[in-house]
């Protein structure tokens, strides 16, 4: 049974996320160039590289230490709005998980929800604003529903990924109301939100390939 997640698995999640970000760096930057300042891929890659380096250096043994390290590193290295937003996300996840080394699905769902709340508090984003919220919120909801239904963690994560990717795709026709993209007004319509794209990568990093 792999229905709890170990600290090592969480550590692996972050490393996988770093890898996916690195692989999609150009794509993310292109998305951002269309409606923002064109640095999202670069920034996220720089931040996640630094985070992996920090994990290598410190080898955190608990979930809270792990996410705290990732969060603080992103805050100091990303530079753009994603720094405080992803930083807040991981700090809140870490705080919610506490000093556990085995995390259940419902704990994970609760922690991600806390992270989502942190992002809302920080960025004041709402559904439909064309932000990372639009991918993260459906993912969290899918995870919570699956947890309530007693689903297996792997299935729950697959459902979350599907929700995140749907959410990501839904940002394309939206009119940006937050961040630099909102300066563009109508011209932001027709472009996928890079932040939401990164969130989909984050969920994908946790999701095992279909069985």
């Amino acid at each position: 049974m792999n229905d709890t997640v170990s600290t090592a698995a969480l550590d692996e999640w972050m490393r996988t996320f770093a890898r996916l970000v690195a692989e999609n760096k150009e794509a993310l930057t292109d998305l951002d160039a269309a409606i923002g300042d064109g640095d999202h891929g670069e920034n996220m890659d720089r931040g996640m590289r630094a985070a992996v380096q920090a994990l290598d250096d410190t080898r955190p043994s608990t979930a809270s230490a792990l996410f705290n390290k990732v969060g603080m590193t992103l805050i100091s290295t990303v530079g753009g709005a994603s720094g405080p937003l992803f930083g807040t996300l991981f700090l809140r996840i870490g705080a919610a998980l506490g000093d556990t080394s085995e995390v259940s699905l419902s704990q994970l769902a609760t922690a991600l929800h806390a992270g989502l709340d942190g992002i809302v508090a920080r960025g004041k984003a709402e559904a439909g604003d064309k932000t990372i919220y639009d991918a993260l919120a459906p993912a969290v909801q899918a995870l919570e529903t699956a947890a309530t239904d007693g689903a297996h963690t792997a299935d729950a994560l697959r459902a979350a990924l599907a929700a995140a990717e749907n959410g990501r795709d839904a940002t394309t026709p939206m009119l940006a109301r937050k961040g630099r993209a909102s300066y563009l007004g109508e011209r932001s319509v027709g472009h996928q939100d890079p932040g939401a794209t990164s969130i989909a990568l984050l969920i994908a990093a946790a999701t095992p390939a279909p069985a």
Binding site: G80, P84, G87, G123, S182
Partner: protein, 849 residues
């Protein structure tokens, strides 16, 4: 890195500069440091990921806050986007909650805000003050650049959208976000430290600054429209909460529509000045000064000062009318004046005016042009109701123009019956009987200045008719009866005939009384009662003589001083006083020295705005405080007194000390030759304390004139302009009558000594003297012309009545029908009664008019 670690900076607010760019932040700090070289302010930079990589870092911001923190606190300024998010996150990262509490994140623009914040911090301002200063840093630039014609882009984006809070509401008000609800909205926003913008989501209009009424109106937000609120700044969330709550309350307006029904008033029209008027509705139109009419232009500084001063005047006036409206019709109705006040203080309009003044325009021209722009914007709105609100702009604009030009504030659109919300004393004073055949006021009371002046001019008037009358179309045919309070709109032929007959009867009766008006008024028992006239102008004096007045018992000299830029000089005053005396044909003229105060302010005699001007510095109180005006006036009065029989009296005395000081100035004004022969010196009794202490004044007096209007309002603590307490404010209240009796009794038992005994010497109080040589007591208030009051006043010992010129014939007629002995017993009985109404009943039944 803190640029200064000087210990002297420890007590000052520290500043943190957050930017994506290290170079930008360093340069901004250098710029700001130039402003504060003598007082080192701690400024720390948290910018860029390193010296070349753009980005922001919450950890670095937290460190910077720690570096410049002191008990005085820290203000953080930031550029945009992630800078805002990172700064907020930095607050979360601070370990010490005390430190967190004293950090203020400023929504100010980075460069402008930093410069201003540094100056404020160097000056020792607290963190909130520093933040507020920074917050306002953009105002100067915005005011300088915002052109009125550019309605969409002129609104400065005070902070990056990332810092903005967002909410929407749906307009439920029947007429949309028109002037009144918009004014409530603007008022709510102005009190908060937040930049708030509004966008009409439904129509796409905006965003416009929510603090500008003129701009909010351009959203043309109708019922059902969705309006988006964008708020930033320290109190952004409060602003959102307040506005949503306000929208929820439909902006404190009944949902079924703002306009009040036609002719809605608590009391309905009240009779205010007798007589019948038949004619067409006329409104006041405000002169729109064409540019060529504008006064010679001063330098921009002078012109701008004129704008500011005129605004203060107009604000005072609007506030006054608003309180009258609130009292008499209700707070709902008074909101329109809130809208007017908002327009007056509208930052966008002012910026435009200022720009025009700076470009060399005269104050009036600049104001007219700026308002024309707003008016145009409103007139172009698609909704007819909102479009009609352009009227509000016109009303305010006209008041400002009047204040700026010092000209008569308004003129009638043609001859007929004037319909207005209320008349200022100045407007009422200028009413021309040849064109104003009647007056209908939405507000006001029968004892307001406007009503008094209408009576004195013989213009039939109704007051408190309700706001509905303001919606009567120009030119509508109406009939009013100022004796009964009747108001008929579009009268049928039969009604018209009935009123015409009534008017003819009145005219006939008046002619008869006038025929004998020139004869002295003797009571049935042969006592001579002086019936004089209250005079407010040269024309009044002619009228007084024509109506058979025995003299002028009260010359209100203030009408010589109102509505002008500077006080009349001595020559002008002498000419006016002598002119009045000439018009009176050798009859005695009683000049009251300038009686102004907060309710009748003079532009050239600045007075503090008083919460209660009627209990403030008015009459002699103001004169003794600024004696130059009084001294000039007394010089003029002395000169006039050498040419004809003249009396002088001082208003609003409370203590004999005031009278002695006034007399000292009079003697100084008279010069070495001493007081002119025949100049009699008297006082007004208006303050209850003066009435009760009258014995202390008597040694200094030749005569007394009781101002029953003020004496009544002070005795009953009921303001005479307030319709709600009009019932209380009755000069026939036994409380007032007892004061009058006390004055008459004390005056009857004293020899008049004032002009023959040196100042300061006294005569034993209570020495018995023949009544014939006592100090005479007159009444110059409204009661003197009141048919029911006359017998009571005579019974109490009053021997002179001073009334409006046109009332002289009827007052004389009344006196001739009275027997003094019966009046005396009637007055004694009246003193025992409960209230004014009982006294009126008593008189009506025993000595009907």
């Amino acid at each position: 890195m803190a640029t200064s670690r000087d210990d002297s900076a420890g007590s000052l607010v520290g500043l943190v500069v957050v930017s994506h760019s290290w170079a930008l932040a360093r340069a901004a700090v250098a710029l700001a440091s130039e402003m504060v070289h003598d007082r080192p302010v701690r400024m720390a930079v948290a910018a860029g990921l390193d010296e070349v990589t753009l980005g922001t870092d919450a950890v670095r911001i937290k460190q910077a806050i720690d570096e410049v923190d002191s008990p005085a606190g820290v203000v953080v300024l930031m550029d945009l986007g992630s800078a805002v998010l990172s700064a907020e996150l930095a607050l979360d990262l601070l370990e010490d909650p005390d430190v967190r509490d004293r950090v203020v994140l400023s929504a100010a623009p980075l460069v402008e805000g930093l410069v201003v914040a540094a100056v404020a911090a160097a000056g020792g301002a607290g963190r909130k003050e520093v933040a507020a200063e920074a917050h306002n840093a953009l105002m100067g630039k915005a005011a300088h650049l915002s052109g009125p014609a550019d309605t969409s882009s002129a609104s400065p984006n005070y902070a990056g959208p990332d810092a903005e809070l967002l909410a929407t509401f749906t307009v439920a008000n029947a007429h949309g976000l028109h002037a009144r609800p918009a004014a409530r909205l603007v008022g709510e926003v102005r009190g908060l430290d937040a930049q708030v913008r509004l966008r009409n989501v439904t129509s796409g209009a905006g965003p416009v600054p929510a603090a500008s009424l003129s701009r909010v109106a351009t959203l043309a937000a109708l019922r059902g429209h969705e309006v988006e609120i964008l708020a930033s700044g320290p109190q952004a969330s409060e602003a959102i909460d307040h506005l949503l709550a306000l929208a929820d309350r439909h902006f404190d307006e009944p949902l079924d529509g703002a306009p009040s029904p036609l002719v809605a008033s608590h009391t309905g029209p009240l009779p205010a000045s007798p007589g019948i008027a038949i004619g067409r509705v006329r409104k006041l139109s405000f002169a729109s000064p064409a540019a060529d009419r504008a006064a010679p232009t001063g330098d921009p500084v002078t012109e701008w000062r004129r704008v500011v001063e005129a605004m203060a005047d107009v604000r005072r006036e609007i506030e006054r009318i608003r309180s009258v409206a609130a009292r008499e019709v209700g707070p709902q109705e008074a909101r329109i004046f809130d809208a007017h006040l908002m327009l007056l203080g509208d930052a966008e309009v002012l910026a435009d005016v200022r720009q025009r003044v700076n470009a060399g325009a005269a104050a009036a021209t600049a104001w007219a042009a700026a308002l024309a722009v707003v008016e145009k914007q409103w007139s172009d709105l698609p909704d007819p109701y909102l479009r009609a609100r352009a009227e509000d702009v016109r009303a305010v604009g006209a008041q400002m123009l009047a204040a700026l030009s010092g000209a008569p504030s308004a003129t009638m659109t043609g001859s007929g019956i004037l319909v207005a919300n209320e008349l200022t004393p100045a407007q009422a004073a200028e009413l021309d009987r040849d064109t104003v055949h009647g007056i209908v006021l939405a507000y006001g009371s029968p004892s307001s200045h406007a009503a008094i002046l209408a009576r004195s001019r013989g213009i039939p008037a109704l007051v408190a008719a309700g706001a509905g009358v303001l919606r009567l179309a120009e030119g509508t045919s109406i009939v009013i009866d100022g004796s009964t309070g009747e108001l008929v709109i579009d009268p049928p032929a039969a009604t018209l005939t009935r009123f015409q007959q009534r008017a003819a009867e009145l005219a006939q009766h008046e002619t008869e009384q006038r025929a004998v008006a020139g004869e002295p008024a003797l009571t049935l028992d042969g006592t001579h009662i002086e019936v004089a006239a209250n005079v407010g102008s040269f024309g009044d004096a002619h009228e007084a003589a024509a109506c058979g007045a025995d003299g002028a018992g009260l010359v209100r000299t203030e009408f010589l001083f109102l509505n002008r830029d500077r006080a009349p000089d001595i020559q002008e005053q002498v000419a006016e006083y002598v002119g009045i005396a000439d018009a009176l044909g050798g009859r005695r003229s009683t000049l009251r020295t300038l009686d102004v105060g907060g309710d009748k302010p003079l532009t050239y005699l600045p007075m503090p705005v008083e919460e209660n001007p009627f209990l403030g510095q008015r009459g002699i109180r103001l004169q003794l405080d600024r004696p130059e005006l009084l001294l000039d006036q007394l010089v003029a009065i002395c000169q006039a007194a050498r040419k004809g029989p003249t009396s002088v009296m001082f208003p609003m005395l409370s203590t004999v000390g005031e009278l002695r000081e006034a007399r000292r100035l009079l003697i100084e004004a008279a010069g070495p030759g001493g007081l002119p022969e025949g100049l009699r010196v008297g006082m007004m009794v208006e303050v209850p304390a003066a009435a009760l202490k009258i014995a202390t004044f008597l040694p200094e007096l030749d005569f007394i004139s009781i101002g029953t209007n003020d004496l009544t309002q002070y005795t009953l603590a009921a303001e005479r302009g307030n319709a709600a307490v009009a019932g209380l404010s009755d000069a026939l209240d036994p409380g007032v009558l007892q004061l009058i009796r006390h004055v008459c009794q004390a005056a009857a038992s004293t020899v008049p000594v004032a002009s023959t005994v040196p100042v300061g010497s006294t005569v034993p109080v209570g020495s018995t003297v023949p009544v014939g040589s006592a100090v005479p007591v007159a009444v110059c208030g409204e009661a003197a012309a009141d048919q029911l009051a006359i017998p009571v006043l005579l019974g109490l010992g009053v021997r002179e009545l001073s009334v409006s010129p046109r009332a002289v014939p009827t007052v004389k007629a009344r006196v001739r029908g009275l027997d003094l002995a019966r009046c005396t017993s009637l007055a004694l009985a009246a003193l025992e009664l409960d209230d004014g109404a009982s006294v009126r009943q008593l008189v009506s039944s025993s000595l009907p008019a």
